[in-house]
């Protein structure tokens, strides 16, 4: 479980996150929904321990990234703002290197690489260097890197951007499988249909605050809108934001 309690963050005096609190339970997919600049990436980076929070506390599997960053990173799989690939490495080399950096070796390593390759259908790419990969291929490899050590917690920053239909379906299948296996998944997105279909819980962020949270149905019912997109607009930009926050949080 990921637990965030009362964290704030500002850059050059400008507040980006304000007293943010939420939980991401194991075996659940939680979505962070927000416009550009709402603070989603900063929030995810604080959870990973890449940024330090000003006040409050973050616990990932019971560990505080500010106290034990390496312990937290062993439990985390992260697909960040960019894919973080290396164009001169083959997919096999890339995954082998990152799996070893996570402490895998011997038979465990071989098993992890084989199953990741299988699950994410990486066979055609396995021996290829990553320079010139399509956006979908890059995202697949990035996801494989995040999953190869079977982390208990998965964080994805806008994982569906630039993906074609097939890649989105593969990502969806993978996330549902991981949820069933008990992984706590936190992802940020702009894509409403994805969020609606995948998420057990949606948190709408605006100006560094969570202005609404609940299942997609709950958010639709609360805002009286027919779609999640309309609900998001109503919560993030409309006057209903303040009211729903009071009701749901």
């Amino acid at each position: 479980m990921i637990r965030v309690q009362g964290i704030s963050k500002s850059f050059a005096g400008q507040p980006v996150l304000r007293d943010l609190s939420f939980e991401v339970p194991d075996g659940r997919i939680t979505a962070l929904l927000g416009a550009n600049g709402a603070g989603k990436t900063s929030c995810l980076r604080i959870v990973c321990g890449l940024l330090a929070a000003e006040g409050g506390q973050v616990l990932v599997g019971g560990l505080d990234p500010a106290v034990d960053p390496q312990g937290v990173r062993r439990q985390l799989g992260v697909v960040g703002d960019r894919e973080g690939l290396y164009e001169r490495l083959t997919v096999a080399e890339y995954l082998d290197i990152f799996a070893r950096m996570q402490g895998l070796s011997g038979a465990d390593l071989t098993r992890a690489l084989e199953s990741t390759c299988e699950e994410l259908e990486l066979h055609p790419l396995w021996k290829r260097r990553m320079g010139g990969f399509s956006q979908g291929e890059r995202m697949k490899v990035s996801l494989a890197r995040a999953l190869v050590h079977r982390p208990q917690h998965l964080i994805l920053d806008e994982p569906t951007r630039g993906l074609d239909v097939l890649a989105v379906r593969l990502l969806r299948r993978t996330l549902l499988r991981l949820r069933a296996a008990g992984t706590a998944i936190l992802f940020s997105s702009h894509v409403m249909p994805e969020v609606a279909e995948l998420s057990d819980c949606v948190m709408v962020m605006s100006q560094g605050r969570i202005v609404g949270r609940g299942t997609p149905e709950e958010l639709r019912g609360l805002t009286g809108c027919e779609s999640l997109e309309d609900s998001f607009v109503a919560l993030a930009y409309g006057e209903k934001g303040a009211q729903t926050e009071e009701v749901l949080v």
Partner: protein, 400 residues
């Protein structure tokens, strides 16, 4: 592996760093652009040295002034007296001065048809000197001939006045003679003095592309975030990057040393007064003593590139950084400052002194060399610690 080493490996301190090292080395050594840059500079400068030494010899051979004289029958003795060391006189029956200059003569001296008659009549006959001032050797040749002509003129005046009863001592209060004391070996030493600076510059140039790519490049591509998310301390990330970058710089320097030693036998060093005395152990020592410096250069370049706002910015800053040590070392050489032994403890300066000595087969003090290398490694450790702090800077990641 020692018990402590095994324990460190098992506990993951080193075990996690090895795959990172592999990643950094694969990335660095597969970058064709960086390799070409490293290899080409490493081979280019010894080739230029060889070319430079050959040019110096050629220049020396060409220092003889070739003068064609037209109408020499008007003053055969004078033509004869102009001849001497460094001046070759050729009496030609006829010819066009411009054509003769184009054919390779430095100067053409023309006596007019009435030269002898006017000389005898004390009517100052004209003497035409043709010179192509656009030629690089024209100034030197003209000066050389004019000095001889002036000497000859003075002699004639003296003789004429002596014949009229004026004492020679009155006419020549002094006699100036210029002696060139420059020796080929002095010029050769100047050429050789550049080698340590250029070897050190090779460390910078050969590792520049890799250091920018692995720091500013990773920052720009945001792949640095992926690395920072791995369960390993920041110093290991900097150390792995430093080793990969240094490997290219060191390779460049080793190749330059190899090329230099290979080309030395074909260089006309003996004619420049340089005795090639580089030994095998000297070459190995040169390679080894450059290793700590390669590490320092690598980590400094990474540090500077990490501070840069972009890949391009890093390239510009590092290009400026490369010139600084070369200017410092050449400045010290030109100023011919006598440095105390303790200066050998300073990176760059110590390396320059050792390389210079090893190149001509002179002995180098092993204790000073070890102490200097240890100081360089201490600088490396401090730079790695600074780099690890730099990796924790939040500004390294673009805020979302």
């Amino acid at each position: 592996m020692s018990r402590m080493g095994k324990a460190a490996f098992r506990s993951g301190i080193l075990a996690l760093m090895l795959p990172l090292l592999r990643k950094e080395f694969l990335e660095a050594w597969r970058d064709r652009r960086a390799l070409i840059m490293a290899v080409s500079f490493a081979l280019m400068f010894p080739a230029m040295m060889a070319g430079g030494s050959m040019f110096m010899i050629k220049k020396k051979a060409e220092e003889v002034t070739r003068v064609a004289i037209l109408g020499s029958e008007q003053a055969p003795l004078m033509a004869e007296r102009l001849r001497g060391p460094g001046v070759e006189i050729e009496n030609l029956g006829s010819g066009d001065p411009r054509t003769l200059l184009a054919e390779g003569y430095h100067l053409v001296l023309v006596f007019t048809d009435d030269f002898a008659q006017r000389y005898r009549d004390f009517r100052a006959p004209p003497l035409y000197l043709y010179v192509d001032t656009s030629s690089t050797d024209a100034g030197r040749a003209q000066r050389q001939l004019q000095e001889r002509l002036a000497g000859l003129q003075q002699l004639v005046v003296t003789q004429r006045l002596a014949a009229r009863g004026v004492a020679q001592q009155v006419l020549a209060p002094w006699k100036l003679e210029t002696r060139d004391v420059s020796t080929p070996s002095a010029r050769g030493a100047l050429l050789l003095a550049m080698v340590p600076g250029l070897l050190i510059l090779t460390l910078f140039v050969a590792s520049l592309a890799t250091s920018v790519d692995t720091s500013a490049g990773e920052r720009e591509r945001l792949s640095i975030e992926t690395l920072l998310l791995q369960p390993m301390p920041a110093w290991q990330i900097i150390t792995a990057k430093m080793l990969a970058v240094a490997s290219l710089g060191w390779l460049g320097a080793l190749m330059a040393i190899g090329a230099l030693v290979t080309l030395m036998p074909v260089m006309p060093l003996a004619e420049l007064g340089i005795q090639q005395a580089t030994t095998v152990s000297g070459v190995i020592s040169m390679g080894l003593l450059l290793l700590p410096l390669a590490l320092l250069v690598a980590v400094l370049q990474i540090l500077l590139a990490l501070r840069s706002q972009s890949f391009k910015d890093a390239q510009t800053q590092l290009s400026i950084l490369q010139i600084a040590p070369l200017v410092l070392l050449m400045g010290l050489d030109m100023a011919q400052v006598n440095l105390a032994d303790s200066w050998q403890l300073l990176p760059l300066i110590g390396h320059q002194q050792w390389l210079k000595a090893l190149l001509v087969g002179e002995a180098v003090s092993l204790p000073w060399m070890l102490a200097g290398s240890a100081v360089t490694l201490m600088f490396v450790a401090a730079a790695v610690a600074t780099g690890a702090r730099a990796l924790r800077r939040e500004s390294l990641l673009s805020a979302g």
